[in-house]
Amino acid sequence: MIVAEQKPIKEILEMVKDYNKILVLGCKGCVTVCNVGGSKEAAILASTLKIAARKNGKKIEVEEHTLERQCDPEYIDEIKDMIDDYDAVVSIACGVGPQFLSERYPSARVFPGVDTKFMGGAVEHGIWSERCAGCGTCVVHHFGGLCPIARCSKSLLNGPCGGSSNGKCEISKDVDCIWDIIVRRMTELGRLEELLEFVPPKSWITARDGGPRRLIREELVL
């Protein structure tokens, strides 16, 4: 899923300080699963904004609403009759949400309420970790099913570098060296030889480096 984190409240308050009718818009997709942008969090943020207003002696109206998804025009359409009632929208979907909203409702003031972090999953309750950098050409099967592009700090395809120590990456003791894990796993699997083969430079054409990406599936196009 796409993992996001709520923006500091102060930052959100600063964004919406000139607006008095605010819609906090949640999303039932990834951000619900990572407990940051679902209906529950929309209610919390709305309440927080109201407490801030109370504290500052301001009168504001804040309402919350949660869409099935904010990355789908069909659902974005659902709020067409209500969006004009608000002078600001705080989307707590991933970065796609505020954009789909801005594109569909060009005159609306849309603000991002979360910081979109990465593609990953929950490794423990309350702890998420990155897994994929969306390089566009998946190669994890060469590395024991683990991705060195997203998970090695230097995206080395012929790792590990000389900074790996005690299973940790040179950048921080809190970051696992994925190459350490890859080597150990391949050794256990009796497939170490595969790692001895030189991996040539990767084509990043399919990654973000090749420009903004777009996917067309003719059979699905109406």
């Binding site: 700090s153 000389g162 790996s164 040539p200």
Partner: protein, 310 residues
């Protein structure tokens, strides 16, 4: 066609079977050419080639190719270092052409320390290719005469290709395989991480020799004399992939006030003496960081002078 790959002094020294001796010089954090020349002057005549670091530890310095040119003008042979952190394959290949055009003949290929260590942690890194692929790039340009895209190069750069190896980083068992991989990718010579744990290095070299790696490539053992107990402790604790045994720290402590640096040099000399005899070791890479002025003394004591003329 010459019998040499690059014709660099370092290559000739190694090929002639001499025990090579390389030094290191970090470019200034500014355009202070005089200071750079001063540091270089200490190394002149003491070593066969001088590594010029490339934004080492991710701290911005004068570019390594520019500092390499200064050394060249001063009559020293540079070993131009390049990291993959700061350049994509376009910049990498054009810099390779550029340095070759200006007479640089050795190049050390590195991934580079992550920028989070350095003085611009907010920077975006590149890592378009890794150190292994960088070695392959230089080799392809030199031996195939083509760029990475297969296109012909009009006068290919002929560089003596170096790579680094850290025998002490983990996973330990994999390190010698990674060395083999670098050699297969095209490394002509290897400079290792600073060695302090001699037992572990002996074991590493034994495995390298068993695999015949020393016959395919020149391996230079890395030596950095300890200046102080504090430095030893810092390296032991703070530098990832560095192995400083407690016994060495103890030995330095035992040297007594004012004598630690001397003891550090003594240990380095003992190491060099052992490396001269060690099977598979073709030379020593001396990284006397901000201690360039002690290099003549160390070279003398280690019996490395005079350097061979080839």
């Amino acid at each position: 066609m010459s019998e040499y790959k690059s014709g660099s002094n370092l290559e000739k020294v190694l090929k002639a079977g001499h025990f090579a001796f390389t030094g290191e010089c970090g470019p200034p954090q500014g355009a202070n050419v005089e200071h750079l020349k001063e540091k270089a002057a200490h190394l002149k005549g003491c070593v066969d080639a001088v590594n010029v670091t490339d934004n080492q530890t991710a701290v911005v310095r004068m570019s390594s190719w520019a500092a390499s040119l200064v050394l060249l003008q001063e009559g020293l042979e540079p070993n131009f270092q390049m990291v993959c952190r700061d350049r994509n394959r376009l910049a990498i290949q054009s810099d390779i052409l550029g340095v070759y055009a200006h007479g640089i003949r050795n190049m050390l290929c590195l991934s580079g320390d992550h920028q989070r260590f350095g003085n611009h942690p907010e920077a975006k890194n590149v890592f378009d290719i890794d150190s292994m692929q960088l070695i392959y790039t230089v080799k392809t340009m030199r031996d195939e005469g083509t760029f990475l895209n297969g296109q012909d190069i009009d006068v290919p750069p002929k560089l003596f290709i170096g790579a680094a190896s850290n025998p002490f980083a983990e996973p330990f068992e994999f390190r010698v395989y990674r060395l083999a991989k670098k050699i297969a990718a095209g490394a002509d010579f290897i400079q290792t991480q600073c060695i302090y744990n001699m037992d572990r290095f002996r074991e590493f070299m034994k495995r390298a020799v068993d695999m015949g790696l020393h016959e395919k490539c020149y391996i230079l053992a890395g030596v950095t004399p300890m200046k102080s107990v504090g430095m030893a402790r810092y390296m032991a604790k703070q530098v990832p992939g560095m192995d400083v045994p407690a016994s060495l720290i103890k030995r330095l402590q035992g040297a007594g006030k004012g004598k630690v640096a001397g003891e550090g040099i003594k240990f380095a000399i003992e190491q060099i003496e052992e490396f001269k005899e060690m099977e598979g070791v073709a030379g020593v890479h001396l990284m006397a960081i901000e201690w360039e002025h002690r290099v003549p003394e160390i070279s003398e004591l280690a019996g490395m002078l005079p350097r061979p003329k080839v």
